[in-house]
């Protein structure tokens, strides 16, 4: 199991999953021999059967220790509602997933007294709150598509300087320059360092050939920086993470299809970063036009082999697949952004006021901003970071280390660089 840098929570999607589903998983896990999940920590009547395996359970406990930590969170949640009927079905079974390794499911009451494994949840939470999160988001799109406004709306604060303020000198820059702004946002004690990387000049020129190159370079540079930190002999306790976790690509609402520049950009960047395409300024499309546009975009994406987030290949388990499939059916999200509030039916809403009505940004009947926000922040924030770290970064790392396989001295490394435990499987075998 990889060592988690302090302050990072595992995926903990509280809202979309109901307790009921989790309970089912717990039960399923029991009967599913290959899955080895701990059972419910129900307050069961202690049965003889359990005490028999009690001793067995104690030995196994240490092996289960690590797994238990992982699943500890779920057990904590399950504590809320336990139905008595389920108790009858619960039985202790020896799970034979790994030949020779006998594990049993330990419920909270089997152990002699309350051990307190679930307290790890609070510890993790406290650590996260102290350390804070880092999240780096890149926005790419032609000028005027509402990128800064959308970021401000997403994080409900003025993190991005809007380019249509009265004293802003609008000069379309001749080259694509990346522009990074960091803010620390705090909510209920949780601090997040949000970095927004803007890309003014993208796609604005007459000749836009290779306008994606500065962006590709920047993404790879961040990976390189992280790699170097990771390969140091004396590493920092928390490596500053400036890698791009998510790239929001803004599509103009033409209503037709993907343009050439869209295809070229997403083809290249889809391989190195998680792209979330959105339809900008979607208040110019009626609902049918929006659906047709999305359908055509999805066809174009598939036809060009472009993989956008969430990628199908990285779904870890079936119910994540279900959630992600639902998301995949509705990307790209059609969004409208604003920072102005208006009164609608007595309460204040974020919206755009026009002569024919008020477009409410957070109303899912009007636009899909709420879905985007939920995806990016409420449900998949940690997953985005994980995908960046486990998949995109690892791909980069493998490529880099393979390239410089011949001369380690190029990287300024000692001949035993990977002793610290982040060994590539291949390398560690060779050292053995």
């Amino acid at each position: 199991m990889r060592e988690e840098p302090a302050g990072e929570l595992e995926t903990n999607p509280l809202s979309p999953m109901e307790d009921g589903e989790e309970k089912e998983r717990g039960i399923m896990g029991q009967e599913d021999v290959s899955n080895c999940q701990p059972g419910q920590p129900a307050h069961m009547d202690s049965q003889d059967a359990i005490t028999e395996t009690g001793e067995n359970g104690v030995e196994v406990d240490t092996e289960m220790g690590e797994k238990g930590k992982e699943k500890g969170m779920e057990e904590g949640e399950l504590k809320k509602e336990i139905e008595m009927e389920l108790e009858a079905e619960v039985k202790v079974e020896l799970c034979q997933s790994v030949p020779g390794l006998q594990m049993s499911f330990i419920r909270g009451t089997d152990l002699f007294g309350y051990v307190g494994i679930e307290a790890v949840l609070d510890q993790m939470r406290r650590k996260t709150m102290k350390a804070g999160l880092e999240f780096n988001i890149m926005v790419v799109g032609q000028s005027g598509l509402g990128k800064s406004t959308l970021v401000n709306t997403l994080f409900k604060s003025k993190v991005s300087r809007k380019s249509c303020t009265s004293n802003y000198e609008e000069k379309i820059s001749k080259t694509v320059k990346l522009h990074s702004v960091s803010h620390v946002i705090e909510e209920k004690g949780v601090r997040m360092k949000l970095t927004v990387i803007d890309t003014p000049g993208f796609g604005d020129q007459i000749n836009n050939e290779n306008c994606w190159e500065p962006i590709v370079k920047h993404v790879n540079e961040q990976y390189e920086k992280y790699l170097r930190e990771e390969l140091h002999i004396n590493r920092k306790r928390r490596i500053p993470d400036s890698r791009v976790h998510c790239c929001i690509y803004f599509l103009p609402p033409t209503g037709h299809r993907l343009r050439q520049i869209d295809v070229e950009f997403m083809k290249r960047l889809g391989k190195i970063v998680s792209i979330v395409p959105v339809i900008a300024k979607a208040d110019t499309l009626t609902i049918e036009e929006r659906q047709e546009f999305k359908e055509r975009i999805r066809q174009d994406l598939a036809a060009n082999g472009i993989r956008v987030y969430p990628q199908k290949e990285y779904d870890e388990d079936p119910e994540e697949s279900v959630v992600n499939n639902r998301i995949r059916e509705s990307i790209p999200f059609a969004v409208v952004g604003t920072d102005k509030e208006h009164q609608v039916n007595g309460h204040k809403v974020l919206g755009r006021k026009t002569k024919w009505g008020i477009i409410e940004v957070e109303n899912v009947a009007h636009c899909e901003f709420a879905y985007l926000r939920d995806l990016l922040i409420r449900s998949h924030l940690q997953d985005l970071k994980d995908v960046t770290h486990n998949i995109h970064y690892e791909t980069y790392r493998v490529r880099r280390l393979n390239e410089s396989n011949v001369s380690f001295s190029e990287l300024g490394l000692s001949p035993w660089p990977l002793e610290n435990g982040t060994a590539d499987k291949g390398d560690s075998e060779s050292h053995l």
């Binding site: 007459i206 900008a280 208040d283």
Partner: protein
């Protein structure tokens, strides 16, 4: 001194000649002959050009739209598609040609995308010039582009570099009417701000767009007011629609959103009516300006370069002759040198 066959209409009053009737004759002749108008539409794809044209003329000029995918688009360069439709209203026939420019601004590199368009405009002028200079001038077909609607994207902060370059290239050849497309994406304040920025940038780059002529002082107040309003609204922020929506019992053209209905012909929602008014009341003026200004410019340029080309050719010929003569001289000198060398050798022997 009474005239022609109009005797029945006007009394034989003294001092009345009767040529006040001339406009009627012109009117009748024109109505019989019909009007020709060529309108060019330029803009990036997806800005609603075709929808707007259909809404303007209440016809379906583009019935079956096939939208090519991104892969197919790579192969295409800008194309020129001209479609002609005959519209008749109250006995007046209009032969409208709409020239569409699909592919404009779609490629990653749009450097060459307006060359095709400029060539087309020049070709139409060339053909007219040729017909005009010909022997049989009875049936000259006027295919010159009288007006160009340039569609500006409402998503930007003003004019894009491509917009500026294109308009600078054609403002001396055709009447440009800038139009802000898909205006339902803008709130009122954003619209005003965008219009002001566009006008500022047009002035800054010295682009000459079509200026509506001021109303003559003898026109009625209403017309003067209308002209003033029209002039103040350029560039027009328009919305087009092919769909009929039912609003308060009436069927009107509009776009139905979950948050409301945008009415195409509602002056509070957009400037569509103003654009249509301008086009209709100034169609004649647009044709005139094309004829008197742009065509004359083109003609004088052509005739100037045409004559200077003849002079150049003479010079070129002279140069060539000189070169040839020099080459011959050199050859002769070489031959002489060779012969001298041979003779020397012989004498040495």
């Amino acid at each position: 001194m009474s005239q022609s066959g109009e005797k029945g209409k006007f009394p034989d009053a003294t001092g009345y000649v009767g040529f006040a009737n001339l406009p009627n004759q012109v009117h009748r002749k024109s109505v019989k002959k019909g009007f020709e108008f060529t309108l060019m539409v330029v803009g990036e794809s997806g800005l609603g050009k075709s929808t707007l044209i259909n809404s303007l003329f209440l016809t379906d000029l583009y019935p079956e739209r096939y939208i090519p995918g991104a892969a197919e688009k790579i192969e295409r360069t800008v194309q020129i598609e001209a479609s002609t439709v005959e519209i008749e209203e109250r006995g007046v026939k209009l032969r409208l040609t709409v020239v569409d420019t699909p592919g404009y601004g779609d490629a990653i590199n749009s450097q060459d995308c307006f060359k095709t368009i400029i060539e087309y405009i020049d070709n139409q002028f060339e053909r007219y010039l040729h017909d005009e200079s010909g022997l049989n001038r009875r049936h000259i077909v006027d295919n010159r582009v009288h007006c160009c609607f340039y569609f500006i994207s409402p998503f930007g902060h003003g004019l894009k570099p491509l917009d500026v370059e294109f308009m600078k290239a054609i403002h001396s050849k055709v009447n440009i009417v800038p139009v802000i497309a898909k205006a339902d994406t803008l709130t009122l304040r954003e619209r005003d701000r965008l219009k002001r920025r566009i006008l500022d940038e047009i002035a800054e780059h010295g682009i000459r767009i079509y200026q509506l002529p001021d109303a003559d002082s003898d026109e009625d107040e209403e017309f003067k007011e209308q002209t003033r309003v029209l002039k103040a609204s350029i560039p027009f922020a328009v919305i087009g629609s092919n769909q009929l929506i039912e609003v308060k019992g009436k069927k009107i053209r509009g776009r139905l959103y979950p948050w409301g209905v945008v009415e195409v012909e509602n002056p509070e929602h957009n400037d569509f009516l103003k654009l249509r008014t301008m086009l209709v009341t100034h169609m004649q003026d647009l044709q005139e300006v094309t004829q008197d200004l742009h065509y004359e410019n083109f003609r004088s340029e052509r005739l100037k370069t045409g004559s200077s080309r003849a002079v150049d050719e003479d010079e070129v010929d002279k140069d060539q002759i000189l070169l040839q003569k020099e080459a011959e001289l050199r050859r002769m000198q070489q031959m002489i040198a060779q012969m001298q060398a041979q003779m020397k050798m012989k004498s040495d022997e």
